[in-house]
Amino acid sequence: MPSHHQERVTPVNAVVLMFVGLAIILAGYFVYSRYLAKKVYRLSATHRTPAHEFKDGVDYIPTNKFVLWGHHFTSVAGAAPIVGPAVAIIWGWGPAFLWVTLGTVFFAGMHDLGALWASARNKGQSIGTLSGRYIGPRGRNLFLAIMFLLLVMVNAVFAVVISGLLVSQPSAVIPTWGAIVVALLIGQAIYKLRWNLAVVSIAGVVALYGLILLGDRFPIVLPETIMGLSASAFWIIVLFIYAGIASLMPVWMLLQPRDYINGLQLFIGLGLLYAAILLSAPTMVAPMINQNTPPDTPGIVPLLFVTIACGAISGFHGMVSSGTSSKQLDKETDARFVGYFGAVGEGLLALVTLLVVSAGFQTLADWEEVYHAFNEGGAGAFVAAGGTVLSNGLAIPESLSATVLATMAVLFAATTMDTSVRLQRYIISEIGELMGLKLKPLIATVLVLLFGLGLAFGADPSGEGGMIIWPLFGTTNQLLAALTLSIITVILVRKRRPFLPVLLPLMFVLVMSVSALVVQLGTFYGQGNWLLLGMGIVILIAAIWVIIEAAVTLNRVRNQPPEPEDEDVAVAAQAGADGR
């Protein structure tokens, strides 16, 4: 693609942007989150948290805030804050930079902290239960429906992302599958042999990097077709079979050590990338605003706001906030660090991705070659550009750097997929129960895999074009966030507290995700992709449902007498006395 008519302005150094971004995000934490904690959520150090109120050593355990932040952050951050910005950079780095930094400050941080607070004030109940309580019985079904759609898309889209990486970066094949063996060995070493964890951690990380070296030396390229399938399609099927088996295994054997090693990887990876940017100080090769977008690129408004979901605002975080973290808060005031700073951590991952995919190319022409069509960048571009940045900054050979990053991205995506297959199994069992069916774990797992495979191949029969679902995934994720934000707004309105810091982002997210959905429906209709069109319509119905429920509930509570400040505590105590 010709690049000469791209308007050239003085290139910006990535280090400058890095510091500007860090300053915005950290100002959000030190200033805005303090405002939210004091004036909006009114966190109180003396309020007895559910972790103390219902302490049982199982679900409710008061936990040190740094440890709680550590696993809150590693549960919410995955491959999505990498893939989103790496796709959205096609409109230029300026808009994505603003959406990631301001989104983290005014949307994600506020949402994650709010979900944590709302749940902690309601005996640690999940957003699903809270939507039943605050929106009404239909709220619970609406929540189940959105969760179901979201998880189907997570499974499909991450399988596509991993398969794409395994094909484009064959050196990642050995470490990807070898990491499973490493995790299995760690599980045995800790639970059966009772080895010291620090020793096992070091051995695990060394083994993983050994596998990366081995993979870099011996890339595994699959033939064009295997058993009549393309290489991408083959990997997608293998990945689903693996995720199904992994989700049925006892968690201590595989998922626990795997999550742990990946958590360490997340910190190592973030450190490596930021250090490499700082040391190599590359210039932003990508344009600030791309005047020369490929013809198939949809309009930046509204699509940018659903392409980057995780890293700016993601409903999935509310699940983690209200599902587990709220039951472990030692003091209510810890919520600011755990919830808001958890979102900051993910914002930092999105920010560094953005810098890497803008600065990791030699020339604008190279950049345009990679971003020659919408959805073509993604994880592959992150790996290629990040490889260059790492090799310039830290003097690691370029191919090895790319293998390190590809392995990292695959492992993040795979952990997300493992978790979401497991979660989806529970959701399907719950839907089954609503319909009066009792589904065995194996049957529920098979259903999960069939839905995921159906969507991955329904989106594109060759398995290669599955990234088309990405914006749809972001849309659904935003809808879940909107549902959580409506619940928080309702609570705030009932308490007669300032609610605009929640209501305005809620309206913005709803407008953007619904209009993005309409644009995508047009695209799917144009392509004749009936499966995605049908799915989009279902999501649109869910979105309209969210809007109606939120409006009706808000209107109702506006006219009700204000809720006493400690009513939720009284209700929680009553519900606690009624039995958990």
Binding site: V58, Q256, D259
Partner: protein, 97 residues
């Protein structure tokens, strides 16, 4: 470096290592503590039900052995019947609430 100073440095280093090690341990265990504890509780609940089956009116061929185990489950009885969805004790002879 004087011996006392060396000892102080070593103690500080040991303390730091222990803190890191504890933090890592929490980081490993905490996210799955709930899942594992729940699995254990489910097994314990089944065990309690087996031990109490005769008292609840379900014939149990092994009651000769499970009778001896009653004191073991006694402590947990109140939590157990509430978890099983019974607000009040289902057994007249065990008046826990």
């Amino acid at each position: 470096m004087s011996p006392s100073r060396r000892r102080r440095v070593r103690m500080a280093a040991d303390g730091l290592l222990r803190r890191i090690s504890d933090g890592l341990g929490e980081f490993y265990a905490a996210p799955y503590r709930r899942t594992l504890a729940r699995a254990k509780r489910d097994q314990d609940d089944l065990f309690t039900m087996l031990v109490l089956s005769e008292a609840l009116g379900v014939p149990n061929p092994a009651s000769h052995y499970t009778l001896e185990l009653l004191p073991v489950v006694y402590e947990e009885f109140h939590d157990w019947h509430r978890r099983m969805g019974m607000d009040r004790s289902p057994l007249d002879e065990v008046a826990c609430c």
